[in-house]
């Protein structure tokens, strides 16, 4: 089918990243599938048009995910959607959570270590989509896509230090959200305070 795609290297390097770009697009669009599909299509069209700017041997996945995010952000601007949170709100949210590392609660409530096995995938993706975008992006790129810190920094155009703090905070927020959800659903029981 790809015989007619003529730019050298595109079929071998860019197309295998389709699954990755789709997963990232889905989370950028907070689970809205139609929007994510348009985003994937636009990403590949733009990538194809500017394929000659791709440095051979560099990371095609990071390059495509960067384009995907830029296309998404431009669309958000056009639609007049404002960023959902400001940096100061992020800090406030995180401060409030600082004392509640999910691990210690889960450890107490889940002696069988089955905590993560209790969720179905959609529940986890919903919790992820509910995170503020700056945290969600970092978590998706690192935990879902397996990008290294420098690669995440490249895609998000941030210093590595900022990536780390967003990633670690994002993970804590996500674990906390999952724990709250697990309690609500009765997947785990809070430890009796004695």
């Amino acid at each position: 089918v790809t015989g007619g795609i003529t730019k050298p290297g595109f079929t071998e390097e860019a197309l295998p990243q389709l699954d990755s770009v789709y997963r990232f697009a889905l989370r950028l669009a907070a689970g809205r599938e139609a929007e994510a599909e348009d985003l994937v299509q636009d990403t590949f069209l733009r990538a194809y048009r500017s394929w000659d700017t791709f440095r051979p041997g560099s990371n095609a996945r990071a390059w495509l995910l960067t384009i995907c995010r830029n296309v998404f952000l431009r669309g958000e601007e056009r639609r007049g959607r404002r960023p959902e949170v400001t940096e100061s709100q992020i800090d406030a949210d995180v401060e409030a959570l600082a004392a509640t590392a999910a691990f210690s609660e889960v450890e107490a409530a889940d002696p069988e270590r089955a905590f993560f096995d209790s969720f179905v995938d959609e529940e986890v993706m919903r919790a992820l989509d509910a995170l503020p975008a700056p945290f969600r992006e970092a978590v998706v790129l690192s935990d879902l896509e397996g990008l290294s810190y420098p690669e995440v920094a490249e895609v998000l155009d941030l210093p590595v230090g900022t990536v780390k703090s967003r990633l670690f905070r994002g993970r804590r927020l996500l674990q906390q959200a999952l724990y709250g959800y697990a309690l609500e659903m009765g997947y785990v029981r809070p430890k009796e305070r004695t």
């Binding site: 089918v1 790809t2 007619g4 795609i5 003529t6 730019k7 595109f10 389709l18 699954d19 789709y22 997963r23 889905l26 599909e37 994937v40 299509q41 590949f44 069209l45 194809y48 048009r49 691990f103 889960v106 450890e107 270590r113 905590f115 993560f116 969720f119 995938d121 986890v124 993706m125 978590v139 998706v140 690192s142 935990d143 879902l144 397996g146 290294s148 810190y149 780390k164 990633l167 670690f168 993970r171 674990q175």
Partner: protein
Amino acid sequence: MSEAEMLPCDQVIARLWEYVDGELTEARAEEVRAHLEVCSRCFPQYDFQRAYRVFLRRCAEQPVPPELRQRVFRTLLEESGREEKVPGGLRVLLARLFRRRP
């Protein structure tokens, strides 16, 4: 490694994510590993965070729907055909004219 050389717990916990993510230098990673092997307080945290990572990776295994794959291929084929019809010089000119700011 002797007890005296062992990293303290707070330093291990501070580097735990970087360790789980494979982002530490080999020397640093070795120090963390040595601590985790013997520390019953830090190891469960490591185990939990590692389980989290494995779990999240597994949850996200969602392949592209076949229709979307076809749609992307079709778009690229059309684009490929379109570009071939436009002479090279004109294409460069058009690309310059319509180039967006980065």
